[in-house]
Amino acid sequence: MAQKKMTIIASKGTLDMAYPPLILATTAAAMDVDVTIFFTFYGLEIIKKDNADRLKVSPLGNPAMPMPMPIPTLVSSLPGMEAMATAMMKSMCKKHGVASIGTLLDLAKESGVKLIACQMTMDLFGYKKESIVDGVEVGGAASWLDIAADSQINLFI
């Protein structure tokens, strides 16, 4: 059986949306799939140094987020609501034995997942290579397409 390949474009940088790319990438690697994650736009937040475990989630503009009680949109915009929602999700993850984003990122690197940071977005946001975790390559759309064209699974998250 020839080795399968998968690429994921990680374009979101909130705590909730950092999970799917890292869960799929680490699992695929454990299933002997050759995995590449291309981090672009807000997805770069996941691979900024010391940032993986500082990602946040907001109830604002996120009506599907389960809350202990219904929260009106206006209340969601108040100071402290984002911190509360983030703390709530982190404690839920801990309680259910869900790994932190930082742990999943470490596991991804450890299992040989290739990480590529989008050069254009880095320039756009003014991020330097030094502000990104070690072991990340920098590339553009063509770098991703080159790998994606030979992959069986390509996901945009």
Binding site: M1, I23, T26, T27, A30, M31, D32, H96, G97, V98, A99, L107, S111
Partner: protein
């Protein structure tokens, strides 16, 4: 329970959610020699199907699955 399967290593993945039981199983199996058996204990209800998919994909063999009350015990033979 009379025909217990002999195993070489035990992995306690109880209390862990997807994807950790799979990731830890993969790591543990890598430390085994071919034909050795890993016993994995989980509580994640999704692990039953996930472990089967993982084994099929990686060419390892699940010899037996025991379902207890909220727990799953897998006996996995390193075949690849």
């Amino acid at each position: 329970m009379s025909a217990d399967i002999k195993f070489d290593q035990v992995l306690d993945a109880k209390g862990l959610s997807c994807p950790l039981p799979i990731l830890k199983t993969k790591k543990a199996v890598e430390t085994l020699a071919k034909d050795q058996v890993l016993k994995v204990e989980t509580t994640d209800p999704g692990s039953k199907n996930d472990m089967a998919s993982w084994a099929k994909r990686t060419g390892n063999e699940i010899l037996k699955v025991d379902e207890g009350s909220g727990t799953f015990t897998f006996y996995i033979k390193k075949s690849a």
